[in-house]
Amino acid sequence: MNEQTANEEPFEAAQTAQTAQTVPEMPAAQDPRGQAGVIPAVKATQVHKVYGSLHVLKGIDLTVMPGTVTVILGPSGSGKSTFLRLVNQLETLTGGSIEVDGELNGYRHVEQHGADVLQTLNDKEIARQRAKIGMVFQRFNLFPHRTVVENVMEAPVHVAKVPKERARQEAMAQLERVGLADRADYYPMQLSGGQQQRVAIARALAMHPGIMLFDEPTSALDPELVGEVLGVMRSLADAGMTMIVVTHEIGFAREVGDQIVFMDGGVVVEKGGPEIIDEPKEARFRDFLSHVL
């Protein structure tokens, strides 16, 4: 509740900057599954992103506790996908910080001439940080030249150096989990969009990530295929996976989300439990919901 009132004037950078001080303790106390003293899975502090002259993110504060599902809603261009890509370092931060499991993303604190400065991590260290996070894309992005099971095995074999046979067994188990074990030897283009997206989820899970990011996972799907992907995501949430989901599926958000975040114009306009979908406080959120529901 406090968070929402603090965010009443989200356009004021100074205002949001103040709330940054209060945010760290709040979600732990507020979150139904979170406990005080637990390290957040993701903690974003005053995140800014600028592309040329475009200010996409204007100070995002967001904390995601382990084992919870955060759903980010908002109109296109609100910066929600950009935020997700920042968590996985597909983009570089312009300002602020993101910590994953208490570890700073992309940088390390070093001392230089007695001052504390940030040192950019090298590609290898960033790759290691990325491997802890699974990501599912709107356009699936499966490797078209490899079969389904090869897609799932790719990272375990070549990044985690798991022996091939074991990786294949584990890949089959992941495919079983998304209900596609019988399609293991197909090429991605022989599958429907929904099947491809389930393979993409299995591929991300194969690296045993602590966090899963979903960037509009059902937006490129035919309506009748949305359900199967949401079903897999729901079962993941039930299994206690930490998830951040950018989506337009309000029903899914209400049902599965522990924390709902509404973004617009590069700021968090409103956030809270799933009940805010039915009782939005902010006019802009109410307006958005009336258009998508």
Partner: protein
């Protein structure tokens, strides 16, 4: 399962059986062109100046067959060197390091901007230009190893190294642009997905980008191989005197009969080119796997209703790929 095999045509009770559209113009044009073709063939067969008996006599001449061998060796070796260089140049061209980018740009600018014949003459004069090669510490007098470049001329066969390098370096510049176009054609989402899995930059290039770029790179590279085969006829500029063109030319000069030996040369170039085209088609199928729905049907996987559906979806994809092939051929022919 039944649908996976070629299905029988379904019965349509009111199937249309109409006469085809009438095209009198196309019939006339066909007759005229066929007539011209017959006249041409007859003229070639009966014109005594072609001297077909001499063509036949020298077709399997030892020097000619050796010439084919050397032409093939030159084509294959210089093409392999060119491919390695081209991938390197293309990756350098996309590097974050401005020095690497600049060197790659300069290389392509130079080797594409000067005629291959001139370059080959240049390589032939390499020993005059740089008489000694030394290995040592730069800008000091210290060296560990030294050789006369004139000796290089004798490696394998006289002029071979110069001919091979001349062809390879020139070709690398053209191929580098083909490779770069291929790399840029791969969906950036592929690289992002690979990054998200924690793959390193070099691994992404090797395992994700390049294999997919190959599909785009192979057709124009096939043309380059065929073009290279014919460009080897220029290495007399070095001079290298063992390949097909030079061999037939030498015989022609000896017996004062240029035309029949030109026909011999043409015949063999056509034979090799045709074989290369078969190889190219095979490579295109190989690197197209996963992109066309046909090559990729899993063996022994259980079919069910789902199996037929993706095949139907993949079919238009295949026809799109088919349409694109001639475009590449036209571009580089």
């Amino acid at each position: 399962m039944a649908r996976r095999k070629q299905p029988e045509c379904p019965e349509v009770p009111n199937e249309i059986k109409a006469l085809p559209v009438r095209r009198p113009g196309s019939l006339v044009a066909g007759v005229i062109v066929a007539l011209l073709a017959v006249m041409l063939v007859r003229g070639m067969a009966t014109n005594p100046n072609f001297e077909w008996d001499l063509v036949w006599k020298y077709l399997f001449n030892e020097h000619v067959l050796n010439g084919i061998g050397w032409t093939l060796v030159l084509t294959v070796t210089s093409m392999l060197i060119a491919i390695v260089l081209a991938v390197l140049l293309a990756v350098m061209r996309k590097s974050v390091n401005p020095v690497l980018r600049g060197v790659s740009w300069f290389w392509i600018w130079f080797f594409r901007g000067t005629p291959i014949y001139t370059q080959l003459v240049f390589w032939g004069l390499f020993a005059v230009l740089i008489p000694h090669l030394t290995l040592g510490i730069p800008f000091t007098g210290i060296h560990f190893w030294q050789m006369d470049t004139a000796q290089l001329n004798k490696v394998i066969a006289p002029g071979f190294l110069a001919a091979m390098l001349g062809l390879a370096l020139n070709e690398s510049a053209y191929l580098a642009e083909i490779v770069r176009a291929g790399l840029e054609a791969v969906d950036p989402g592929q690289s992002e997905a690979a990054q998200a899995l924690g793959m390193s930059r070099s691994m992404i290039m090797r395992r994700v980008i390049l294999p997919q770029a190959m599909r785009i790179i192979v057709p124009p590279t096939g043309n380059e191989v065929i073009s290279m085969l014919k460009t080897t006829s220029l290495v007399s500029a070095v001079p290298f005197s063992l390949e097909l063109q030079f061999a037939t030319d030498a015989i022609a000069n000896r017996i004062y009969k240029p035309i029949p030996l030109l026909i011999v040369a043409c015949f063999w170039y056509l034979v090799v080119t045709s074989i290369l085209m078969v190889g190219q088609a095979w490579l295109e199928r190989y690197f197209g796997k996963g992109f066309d729905g046909q090559s990729a049907m899993p063996a022994g996987g259980d079919g069910g209703d789902g199996a037929a559906e993706p095949k139907a979806k993949a079919a238009p994809k295949a026809s799109i790929d088919g349409d694109r092939t001639p475009e590449f051929l036209g571009l580089n022919a």
